[in-house]
């Protein structure tokens, strides 16, 4: 007994110190980066309107938050991202289920999607400007296209990857085709579907910023373009930081959801 107790404490101790160490290792490069940035800015080698200090960027961030400009822009972009992403993902999942389960559907639609998939989402922008117009629907449609294809192909891969014997087993256990789809195929395809969602969650933000920069007068992208015309590099950096955090949050959300859903599966 005497021998075992210290071992437990050692494990706990080492686990605890590992976590602190991990956090430090993660944060340290950022702190060093910010210090170098601040140091260079304080040397006044470059004019402040070209290369603002980190502290100036934070001050501007605070001003934009308090003034409500940043929140309004963020909410505009967030709405577009959520609308486009949810619609695109839902369409991708539904179409993916159809193509994954029915070979006829797959064979009919796959050639068209194979041709369309390589076109980058922003490549559609000029066409959509004419078809959809320069309005709220433009970024939403672009994000729809951005989310649709990867989610579609990941759903198909997930469904086709389900072991044939598992489906047969469900059938011998009395499950109808619909039950097999909802209780076996879809749950087992979830990890793949989430991979598609996670990959495109960040991409949706990149697309919305680009669309706003090109065509829409509101949102984070538009704020960046206004800041550019006023030579406000500090605002541009604030927008980039917000964009970075939003991309990260979206990707991490789906990563978390995937883990939560598949926890225990082994």
């Amino acid at each position: 007994m005497k021998g075992s107790k210290p071992r437990i404490f050692l494990t706990r101790d080492s686990c605890g110190s590992m976590k602190v160490k991990d956090v430090l290792v993660g944060i340290l490069p950022i702190i060093v980066f910010v210090m170098i940035w601040e140091g260079i800015a304080q040397l006044n080698i470059f004019p402040t309107y070209i290369f603002p200090s980190f502290s100036a960027v934070i001050r501007e961030f605070y001003r934009l938050v308090v003034g409500g400009v940043l929140l309004n822009s963020l909410l505009s972009s967030l709405f577009r991202v959520l609308a486009g992403f949810l619609l695109g993902s839902a369409a991708g999942i539904v179409m993916g289920i159809g193509m994954g389960c029915k070979e006829v559907v797959n064979k009919s639609l796959n050639p068209i999607f194979t041709l369309l998939y390589p076109i980058p989402a922003l490549g559609w922008a000029p066409l959509l400007m004419i078809w959809v117009g320069i309005n709220e629907m433009l970024p939403i449609t672009l994000i729809f296209l951005c989310a649709f294809f990867p989610v579609l192909y990941n759903t198909i891969t997930g469904i086709k990857g389900v072991d044939e014997d598992v489906i047969k087993a469900a059938r011998t256990l009395g499950a109808s085709d619909r039950k097999i789809l909802t209780t076996v195929i879809l749950p087992l395809a979830i990890p793949n579907i989430f991979t598609g969602l996670r990959l495109e969650a960040g991409m949706a933000w990149r697309v919305v910023i680009a669309a706003e920069m090109v065509a829409i007068p509101t949102g984070i992208g538009a704020l960046m373009m206004r800041a550019e015309s006023l030579l406000r590099v500090d605002i541009i950096i604030v927008c980039l930081m917000v964009l970075s955090v939003m991309c990260l949050l979206f990707e991490r959300f789906f990563q978390y959801m995937e883990k939560k859903v598949t926890v225990g599966w082994g």
């Binding site: 014997d165 047969k168 256990l173 009395g174």
Partner: protein, 246 residues
């Protein structure tokens, strides 16, 4: 429990196959790889297309889809649902057939007790050992009280000790429940311990049908081709530990 009859069965493996399984018996189907053993089970289960007629208790079931044939099928790779815990795996057939939660829970607990895996109730398949998975798969196959039990080389991936123990238990359960069972294997030790009657298949053709006594007493004396020694050779081919088991 129904007997099974197969009349004039034909497909890519079989040509005009005729055979029967008596009510409540455990029929062992032996044969080398490619003999058509698994195909035979898939035909009975309705999982593949075939010509001819399969009858359960004298009633043709060819038009009945797999999910309505009331079959328990233990697959070679077990095919457990990795996204469901043990209790949900075992209760799957009851759930998809619309049974009430209380009934499902009661039946699942009964089966877990019968298979001695109550302690694994909330575990997921990937955390189980080979023997434990086997028990879960069998409990799942028995949950819907099937009329027919199909076992496709269920002991292949198990070590000798667990295999011996499991085949004894499966045998006891089969006898107790009186389920008509078709057990496919190419391991003679499994066959000898479990079987009531034996069918030897080779290249889609029946080479021999015999009761246990005749089959093993006349080992090597099957004039029409497939001998017990062939079974042994086959077992060696498949890396089964023949020497340890016999």
């Amino acid at each position: 429990m129904p007997g099974i009859e197969l009349k004039n069965i034909g497909n890519y493996v079989f040509s005009n196959l005729n055979m029967g399984v008596f009510d409540g018996e455990l029929l062992v189907v032996l044969g080398p790889n490619g003999a058509g053993k698994t195909t035979l089970l898939n035909i009975i289960a309705g999982l593949i297309d075939y010509e001819g007629t399969v009858l359960f208790d004298g009633t043709p079931i060819d038009e009945i889809p797999t999910n309505e044939r009331q079959i328990g099928y233990l697959f070679q790779n077990l095919a457990l649902f990795s996204h469901l815990d043990v209790a949900s795996n075992v209760g799957y057939s009851l759930r998809v057939n619309g049974k009430e939660k209380k009934e499902i829970s009661q039946k699942v607990n009964e089966l877990l007790k019968l298979m001695k895996i109550e302690h694994l109730k909330h575990k997921y398949p990937k955390t189980l050992s080979g023997g434990e998975k086997q028990r879960v798969a069998l409990a799942r196959a028995l949950a819907s009280s099937p009329k027919v039990l199909l076992l496709d080389e269920p002991f292949n991936s198990l070590d000798v000790g667990i295999c011996r123990c499991l085949r004894r238990e499966i045998c006891q359960i089969q006898r107790r429940l009186g389920i008509t069972t078709v057990f496919v294997t190419h391991n003679l030790a499994d066959a000898r311990e479990m079987g009531d009657r034996f069918v030897v298949l080779k290249n889609g053709k029946i080479q021999q049908v015999a009761s246990k006594d005749i089959f093993f007493d006349n080992a090597g004396d099957a004039g029409n081709g497939y001998r017990v020694q062939d079974c042994l050779n086959c077992a060696i081919d498949c890396n089964c530990k023949r020497d340890e088991r016999l």
